[in-house]
Amino acid sequence: MTSVLIDSVNVRFGDFEALRNISLNIDSGTFVTLLGPSGCGKTTLLKTIAGFTPLSSGKMLIGGKETHNLPPEKRDTAMCFQSYALFPHLSVANNLLFGPKQKKLSKQDQATRLQDIASQVSLTSQLDKFPPELSGGQQQRVALGRALAIQPGIMLFDEPLSNLDAKLRDSVRFEIRQLQKQQGFTAIYVTHDQAEALAMSDIVVVMNKGAIEQIGSPNDIYHRPINRFVADFVGAANILPAQVLEQHGNLYRVQTALGQLQVQSDQAPIAKQTYIFWRPEDMCFDGANASPNGQDNIFESRIIAKTFLGNITECLLDPLPHSHDDANTTLACDKKPSIRIQNLGFQRAEEGEQVLIRVPSSNIRFLAEAF
């Protein structure tokens, strides 16, 4: 039950800037995910919080306490390593008890703690085994249990599920979230898997190139990304450069490589020349039966490729030149984009077929990024 306050933190390794001006406020008891591609600095940030990596500048408070010069062993954090980092020469029981022994718990307390933790992570029957004798999932549990055993205020997870197969990953993900809710610790969770981030977190922090791109709830991050990076990294997105032509209330007319499109937005674009985006599932093939209010965008495309994924069908579209197009207002700078579309269930459309596509204007959003 500990908050973390990170203020203008920079971390440099020689000439390389691993973290740039990071500021982050994590409330006690929240589940925060650090999401980003590999090399974005998310693990560095985690290790900085744990105390393994010293700050080059800025300050960090854990539970309101300045962490400067506080070594990892003195911090109220416990880390779950990607590699598990189990002590191979110690039995499962001794692995779990390693932390409590450092905290000088009495023998009595150690025993009860061991029983608690072992049952929490379902390892009661494995206590006398050694890590190399366990399966991957069991090792993961030992790592989790070992960190839990010191009852930390903050649990740090460094991609803890990346070495598990897909099925196991789902169940462990659920268990971790359950545990966090039960115990109420603050969790900081590093992952590059956007689905995992969206599924688990209260707050998602999207990072790129050592800096934070966006902080928000999973819903915000998915539906209201602020820039092309976030939009593209979290889920699939169709992103087009757009020139705002005119505005009628919250309805905007923009010029794109697909021709003129209508965007319904409560938020004004940040510049005349900006980006618009929509999710592949926010469009459909039923262009022929468009609603009569005229706020839907309809254009003709050819299907280049079609992939049936079971629950959905994904197609790659090649938009055809717009019949009403005004040649001199087309954005010449952009080459013709290809568009992704995802619809539920099996779709009958065939590759090479020409179809009419509909994107409701309310599904298109402006990104807070100009070009």
Binding site: P71, T77, M79, L86, F87, Q102, A147
Partner: protein, 286 residues
């Protein structure tokens, strides 16, 4: 026996086979000579007389305890110096390559040369004494050459063997993942606890290997002993060679010393390794 096993055993012949034959013959030779066979100067018959003569010799027990002392202290000191250096050199940093090459340099200086350099350094009119006199620490140079405690030999052993221990331990320490030590740190273990509970147990094999090899080398030392060793006590190897050269039954008598030396080296190093293991296990459990 299937075909592959047969093939494997055939392949072992030129290398391993040679080793086994060679060592077997040499040990048998020593054993046979120690009980009177292959006597070059008398009749070759079975006899315990050489064993009785050697075991009753006051020099032997002195040489035995002396060699044991030198070997144990050298082995322990070498690894105690090597550990901190290995830990320090675990992560590369600017100049770490240079430092580790520098530290390994003694491996390539011949033992006799090292002994000479040492004696030259500490001799009555050597550099160290001149410095002492100049600094006014002593009025007349101190006599340090061939000290009767074998300190010179131990210094030389450590100087020459420490790099070897360092080589072994650096490899072992580097193979411990950073995550493991980070995890220990994270769970509240300080530097000493991490060393005792994580690093020592995980490098136990390399530590034992270093101890064994240094112990055996130091127990059988001849070159440091003859140049820098005490005058009034011999090492086992020195005694063995002296007896061989100076006595009418030299070969047979020295064979008994050879077998004792071999036993000392083997049993001593095994004991040292075993004790180390127990101590470390006890330390890790605590």
């Amino acid at each position: 026996m299937n075909k592959q096993t047969l093939l494997a055993y055939c392949l072992l012949l030129p290398g391993l086979g040679l080793i086994i034959v060679f060592i077997f013959v040499i040990i048998s030779m020593a054993l046979a000579q120690s009980v009177g066979y292959f006597n070059f100067s008398g009749s070759s018959t079975f006899t315990w007389q050489f064993w009785q003569q050697i075991l009753a010799d006051h020099q032997l027990s002195r040489a035995f305890f002396y060699s044991l002392k030198i070997a144990t202290i050298s082995a322990i000191l070498s690894v105690s110096f090597a550990y901190p250096l290995a830990l320090w050199l675990r992560d590369p940093f600017r100049g770490s390559q240079f430092v580790s090459s520098l530290l390994k340099a003694p491996l390539l200086v011949h033992g006799l040369v090292a002994a000479f350099l040492y004696v030259n350094f500490i001799s009555f009119n050597g550099f160290l004494n001149q410095i002492f006199v100049h600094l006014g620490l002593v009025s007349r140079p101190i006599r340090m050459q061939n000290d009767s405690y074998g300190i010179g030999v131990i210094i030389l052993q450590v100087w020459k063997q420490m790099p070897f221990a360092l080589l072994l331990l650096t490899g072992a320490v580097q193979s411990i993942g950073h995550d493991i030590t980070d995890a220990a740190k994270d769970l509240g273990a300080g530097a000493w606890t991490r060393f005792v509970k994580i690093i020592l147990p995980l490098t136990l094999k390399a530590l034992q290997a270093a101890l064994i090899i240094i112990f055996i080398g130091a127990a059988g030392d001849y070159s440091f002993q003859i140049v820098a060793g005490p005058i009034d006590v011999s090492s086992l190897a020195q005694l063995m060679l002296r007896i061989q050269a100076n006595d009418a039954n030299g070969w047979n008598l020295s064979a008994t010393v050879a077998i004792l030396l071999m036993l000392t080296a083997l049993i001593g190093s095994a004991l040292l390794a075993l004790i180390t293991q127990q101590v470390i296990k006890w330390g890790a459990k605590r």
